[in-house]
């Protein structure tokens, strides 16, 4: 079979060129949209807070002061679990918690410099839509566990960034 190119005039070729350009751009845009963001690092530390005072957990040394201020009714903080997940596109990320609950995170886009995230606790049937800046620590707390409560210390950071601001690690 012989491949024949259509005979086009100058205007036709210009239009064809623009059409090819538009098609390629659309394809790239669609590919970019499908691929979504290159990804965000989601860091979650699962902390048990108790009313009883306990020795400071070295793993929480960098946020000890913030924990003491935000959770004034509690004096003991111990990290039970540390998770780092990749939030890519709208693929949800699930983290199983020690109390049998599971926390789910789904990136839903960017609004200005805030990342829209849907945060869910499946068994508790709680869903929150929040917007968080990068590298800004925020917490979820209140689930009972082991004579205290669970605190989820969370933040998001770009992939490939130096790990300096991870305050949940010594």
């Amino acid at each position: 079979m012989r491949f024949e190119l259509p005979a086009l005039g100058r205007v036709g070729r210009a239009l064809l060129g623009l059409a090819i350009g538009a098609g390629l751009s659309l394809g790239l845009w669609a590919g970019d949209a499908a691929a979504g963001e290159p990804g965000l690092r989601l860091k979650v530390s699962v902390i048990q807070a108790t009313k009883e005072k306990s020795a400071p957990d070295p793993a929480l040394a960098r946020i000890q002061g913030e924990l003491a201020e935000a959770f004034a009714g509690y004096q003991g903080f111990k990290r039970l679990q540390a998770e780092e997940k990749l939030l890519a596109g709208e693929t949800p990320v699930k983290i199983d918690l020690p109390n049998g609950e599971s926390a789910e995170f789904k990136h839903q886009g960017v609004d200005k410099n805030l990342h829209k995230i849907r945060f869910s606790l499946a068994k508790s049937k709680v869903n929150l839509d929040l917007k968080a800046p990068l590298k800004k620590m925020f917490y979820q707390a209140g689930m009972k566990h082991g004579g205290g409560i669970l605190i989820l210390a969370m933040y998001i950071a770009p992939v490939g960034e130096p790990p300096a601001p991870d305050k949940t690690e010594p």
């Binding site: 913030e66 410099n113 709680v126 929040l130």
Partner: protein, 203 residues
């Protein structure tokens, strides 16, 4: 010795004899000429003379023809002929097809692709604040707003038995805490920012 005079054939007779020798006469005319050659001395002499002349002419031609070498004849001819016009390949046709207007479109596509590929996919990262509201590192230019921006809760759904409370920081660098509490609210709620249920509450 005989001195018989022999007449010369006319031009028409000569022509007719030549055609006879060439075998170009119709059969009836050929038979007539053959009869004249055998009976008429003029025709007989002319026939003989023509035959001898023809043999004399044919001999060198045949010799040269026998000596002629035709090896490489066509190669030589082809060498002298102008090069035949080659059918344009797909690459040639594409090259002709990609005229400047098409290339302008492709350049626009390349520019768009470069923009899509190189544009920042995530907003600039703000510096993380250290506990107590002091930045762990010096704030980068333009990140002050991001540093002070709190986490914004846009929507809350609770289809179970949980009460959801959000504690927003008073200080710009304070922590946002999302409380999920068993309903009804516990007797003593942890955290200074979460109001504790008390019998002393007026309402």
């Amino acid at each position: 010795m005989s001195t018989e005079n022999i007449r010369t054939l006319s031009d028409a007779e000569q022509e007719r004899l030549s055609l006879f020798l060439d075998g170009a006469l119709p059969p009836d005319e050929a038979a007539d000429v053959e009869r004249l050659v055998s009976e008429d001395p003029a025709w007989k002499a002319a026939h003989r003379a023509l035959k001898i002349t023809g043999e004399m002419l044919r001999a060198p031609v045949e010799r040269h023809a026998a000596e002629a070498r035709f090896d490489g004849l066509w190669a030589g001819i082809e060498q002298r002929l102008p090069a035949p016009e080659r059918a344009p390949s797909l690459l040639d046709r594409l090259r002709a097809f990609l005229s400047p207007p098409v290339l302008v479109g492709l350049a626009a596509a390349a520019a768009a692709a470069a923009y899509v590929a190189t544009r920042p996919s995530t907003p600039p990262a703000p510096e993380a604040p250290a506990p107590g509201g002091v930045a762990a590192r010096g704030p980068a230019p333009g990140t002050a707003l991001a540093e002070s921006e709190p986490v914004i809760i846009e929507g809350i759904e609770s289809a179970g038995q949980k009460t959801v409370l959000v504690s927003q920081p008073v200080e710009p660098n304070g922590a946002t805490v999302i409380w999920t509490l068993d309903a009804p609210a516990p007797e003593s709620q942890p955290g200074s920012d979460v109001p504790a249920a008390s019998d002393d509450d007026p309402i």
